[in-house]
Every structure is written in C-alpha cells, then in structure tokens.
Symmetry: C2
Subunit: 384 residues, 2 copies
Amino acid sequence: MDAVFETVSGFTTTGSSILTDVEALCHASLFWRSFTHWIGGMGVLVFLLMLIPSRGGSHMNLMKAESPGYKVSKFVPQVKNNARTLYRIYLGMTLITIAALLIARMHWFDAVCLSFGAAGTGGFAILNSSCASYTSAQQWILTIAMVAFGVNFSFYYLMLIRRPKDALKMEEVRGYIAIILASGTAITINIAHLYSSIGTAIKHAFFQVATIITTTGFATADFDKWPSFSKTILFLLMICGACAGSTGGGIKVSRLIVAVKSMFLELYQLVHPRSVKKVRMDGAPVGSRTLRSLYIFLTTYFLIFAVSILLISVDGFDFETNMSAVAATLNNIGPGFSVVGPTSNFSMYSYFSKIILIFDMLAGRLEILPMLIMLYPKTWRRHS
Amino acid sequence: MDAVFETVSGFTTTGSSILTDVEALCHASLFWRSFTHWIGGMGVLVFLLMLIPSRGGSHMNLMKAESPGYKVSKFVPQVKNNARTLYRIYLGMTLITIAALLIARMHWFDAVCLSFGAAGTGGFAILNSSCASYTSAQQWILTIAMVAFGVNFSFYYLMLIRRPKDALKMEEVRGYIAIILASGTAITINIAHLYSSIGTAIKHAFFQVATIITTTGFATADFDKWPSFSKTILFLLMICGACAGSTGGGIKVSRLIVAVKSMFLELYQLVHPRSVKKVRMDGAPVGSRTLRSLYIFLTTYFLIFAVSILLISVDGFDFETNMSAVAATLNNIGPGFSVVGPTSNFSMYSYFSKIILIFDMLAGRLEILPMLIMLYPKTWRRHS
C-alpha cells in the first residue's frame, strides 16, 4: 500500500537535506501511518468480526471468501478465540522486532515505525530513501522480521501449543522458505558484479526478495536497475506473495502449491483414468469445494490483472510500467519497475488510472472475492 | 509458428530489392512451408488418429487432453467421421479464399500460399514485408478469411446439416465476433491519428486484430509502434486466442467464457449458499470434470508462461520483449513487441532461450497437457 508514498507525503526524492525538517514536521503523521500498517496487518475483516457481534447471515459470507488458503475450515468456527491468540503472537513478534532493532542501535522512533511496517507488511519506511541508509545489521534484522511475518501464523500457533513437529512439517512454510532461499541465491549470482563485495550483494538480494515476497515494499537498492533476470524473479515473487494466514498479500504460497499439485495429479489421472487419488496438503485431502474456490480465485485474479493493465494503458506508459504497476498494487507491494520503480512514484498516472489502481489495492488486500461481493447488492440483504 | 521466420529464411528485412531473387530461389520452399501450415492446421493429433487405426489405450488419453473446450464429448466417439467432415469444410473454405484472392487480382502463387497460411493460422507470408504490400481489397479478404478460420468448426458443421439457428446461437462464436468488433473499434479510435484516413486505420486495426486473435501472425502494419493501449489489447488477444475447434491457438474463447461464467456463479453462490445452479454453455450444463480440466489448463498455462519468461530473462532483454516473446510462441502467434516485434525476429535469443521458446510453441499447439503427458513415461505403456 505504500505505492502512493511520495504523493501522500508530498516530498520528492531530491536529497536528504530536507529530511530532518520532514521528520520534525511529520513525526505524528509518520507514526500514525505506520500504526495503520500495524492495525491493518491482521486484516480489517477479522478485526471487524471481533468488535461487531455476529448477527449471522451475510457477513459470514465475506469471512468465508476472505480467509486465504485451505486452512479456512479450521479458523472459521472459533474466529474470536483464534483472533485473540493471533493478535498476541502478532504483538509479541512486533515487540521482539523493536527490541532487536534497538539493540542494533536504531533510533527508537525508526525502530517502532519500521517494525509496524514489517509486521503489517504495509511497508512505508519513514525516510524517502526507504531503508537504504540503515546499517547492515539493521537491514538484516528487517529482512528476518519481514520473512517471519510472511510465515503462516498457524506455524507460530503450533509452536506455542508445543507441537513443533507439526509446525516444521507445514508444506506451505517449507515451500515459502525454499522459494526465498532459491530466489535470493539466484539474484545474488545475477547481481554480484554490481556490488563491491559478495556480502553486499547477498544483503541486497535477500532484503529485496523478503520485501517483495512478503509484499512489504521497503527497499535498500534500486532494483529497477538490476538485470532482467533479477527483475523477472522479483516480478514473479510479487504475484506469488507470502503464506496464507500471514499479513502478506499476493496469491499466497499455499494456493500455488495446491495448484501445482493438482496439475500433476491431473496428468497422472489422464494416464490412469481409474485412479481415485486426491490432492493432499500436510497429509489431509483438499476438498473439491476448496479446489474450486482456489481456481475461481486464480481466474478472477488474472482477469482483474488483465482488465487493469488494459484500462491503465490508456495513459500511454510502457508495458513494463503498466504490468508492474498492476502487480505492485493488486499484490499490495508498493514499488514496481520502470516509471513506477522504487525511486519514483505513481503520481504521473491519470485520475482514471489511479481509481483502477486503488480498486486493485483494495481487491488485493481483501482477497478479491469479498471486494466483488461487496459490490453485489444482494450481499447486504438479510437472509430469511 | 512463424516466430522463426527470418531465422529460417535467412534473410533480414533490409529492403524489398532482393525480394524478387528470394522468390525465384525459394518458390518450392515457400510453397512447402505454407503447405505445412495447411496440413498442420487441423491438428497433428486428429490427423494421426485418422491414418493410424485405433489400438485403444494410451493415445486416446492424448486425444482427450488435446481437444479444446467443452465440445470434446461430442467429437471423441466418432472421431473418424467427424475428422472427414471437418477436412471437407476446411478444404472448401480454403478454395473459396484462394478464389476470392484471385478475383481481387492477387498472383496465384501468393493467393495459394497466403490462403494456406490463413487456413492453418500458421502465418508465414511469402514476403519479408508480410502482407503490407497487397491492395486493401486483398487485405480485407485475408482479414475475413482469418476470422472465418478462427470460428469453431462446429458452426460450419451445423450450417452444413441445415441447423443455422443452432449455429447462430453458439455463445463462443458470438463472443468471438464481439471481441473482434470491440477490439477493432477501440484500436481504430486509438490509432486514427497515425494514419491519413479513417479507412486505413480501420483496415489496419481489423487486420491486426484478426491476425493476432486467430494467432495467424500476418502483419500489414508495425503494431509495435502503436500506442500502449492498442498494444495491450493485442497482447491480451494473443492470450485469448480464437474459438475452440478452430485452427487457432491461445487459451480459446470458450474457455474464457466458461471461466468468467463460473466466476460469477461463485459470487452468486457465496451469497446464496443453498443454490444449486450450474455453469451452462449453449444451454447445456458444463460438467464438473470439464470445469476441472479447464482450471487445470489455465493453471498450467500460466505456470508455463511464468517459468518461460523467467528462463529467457537470463539473456537480459527487456521485460516487454520477454513477455511478448513467450506470449507469441506459447499462443503460436508469430511476432511479439519491441525486440521481437513484427519487423524483427527472435534470432538474438540464446540457444537456451530458443529451446524454451520451441517448447512453448509445441506446448501451445498441442494444448499443453498432451505435451506434458508425452514426457511422462507411463503414457506409452499399454494398459492391461
């Protein structure tokens, strides 16, 4: 959601000499903005469900569509208790991040705001240079924090109730970590020649991978200037997103794992037509209703993607800019490539395109279907 | 499949002075190439099924996966008879196209080769300037021919057995024509200022729309120089493709219609959980097995797309070039944008990338799943 950073703050990236003034003037605003990241992180819908007593009927439909991934059936029935537990984990992890940054000698205001941004994967840093001016240690702490907040919170829940074996067996978390390690390594090799030491390349590669896959949107390097291979990896990570049940956006790793598994199962069944195998996730079969929802989600996602790039292309910007602008907003990343790269902003788009991109940001945050359901009048009628 | 045009013919687009020599030298090769378009048009698999007597077992699995769209159940049981009827329609339409071009005073060799290209939606023209040097009348005939060969052949079959009402009610054909009219009109408005008259703009817009949506790949204008909006429409038409049961490539209009319908049905069912509505196409309900295959197809399609742009990005070309190179090959179009635009070629890609793009061309032509099944060893074992 930090796509409109420069526009909102009203300052351009002309240098750091005015930053002290900005900080002095905007301390309260910056804190509020980061605080909204933190509040928004756990999902507006779960938050509303905790505060507003259940009346049955329509809003449960929203809830059903909002919860990402295959774990939905376990969380819905006891949404209040689960929400409380999740908030506790969330608060605890935020405090740990703040403490780690303070130990690494970050100013307390920066530490609090950046931790809020990392926790909610919202991603406004408080400097126009984003996170580039911090020390390596501070950047590594942020990298780890972002990755940690992109993990499915069921992982921490299982850890909390002392079932570490089940936690470590979670296929989604394993897949997520594997994607991060593979992407970070590939980018490091691809960008090594651009930096003075291999350590710097590793640091920048993993920071950018963490910030993009978790859809946080911080930056320590102008990745728009990286080679095509690295940019393509980052573009695909934008779409991939973090784990279901985390604060991140995107399609989510669990959805991709189930989609790939069902693809291979289909191949198997075309050759063995009498087979009755099912797609399994963490050992449990994935129901056909869940699979259907997954496919409908993917279809809707790519349709919104296609319609959005078509509509904003009226402004005449290049293909890469438009593709990455939609990817950055629909997946709640922040910066894209080219004209909307990490050192610039979305201000040159017309009002019409901005409305499209605002829709994409909201649809991405609300997991798409609730956004469409909200526009559907019958949702708001009481069922008899 | 004309992606490798320049590479294959070995000539660059430096001018038209050498064209006479080329034609003289390569008449036989050009004819053979166009003839392969025509042979390939109706699908290698159907062709093989007609010549090779059925032995039951494994190759039916290939057939099942190859036939696009929801009509598969009607064609499979009597594949031989249907194939014969389809070939007759195909031959008849090709002869009509040749006759029309001859009446419009095209040279007989050009008329035959271009008709073969349009019929098979293969798309090698015989001049390096593709179809730009022909008269407006000849270009309009080609436009209509390409559109006609992109229509689901069930339409002509129904016409042939005197059921014009059923033919005209086919939702896929209606959707296909609507997409062509809407895209052509939008592009005309967008490019009108680039051409001397509105007639020229309409001609170029509809020729390019027809050549891209049917995945033929002829060109009368360098659409890479068109505004972003027109290019985005063409990019989306590349992915859309023509009707199922035609010679065109791409995802196919029927798949997109069913996907959009099932998306709206899902929204409806989230609000009305007890509803038992089904997705319908031409009045008949679409079975859950067919829907599943559709989704798996779409998932596989986008996965291959993503992996392909990632792999070819190693060569370092820009995002637009890579995206459109994969779109052009996976959908069997021919030209893409930017470095692989209609006036240039794919020769600058490395051997590695060319292998990826060759895989994409084959996978796109074979409807993806059979390509993957062919690599799966158990496919070739006899079932007991």
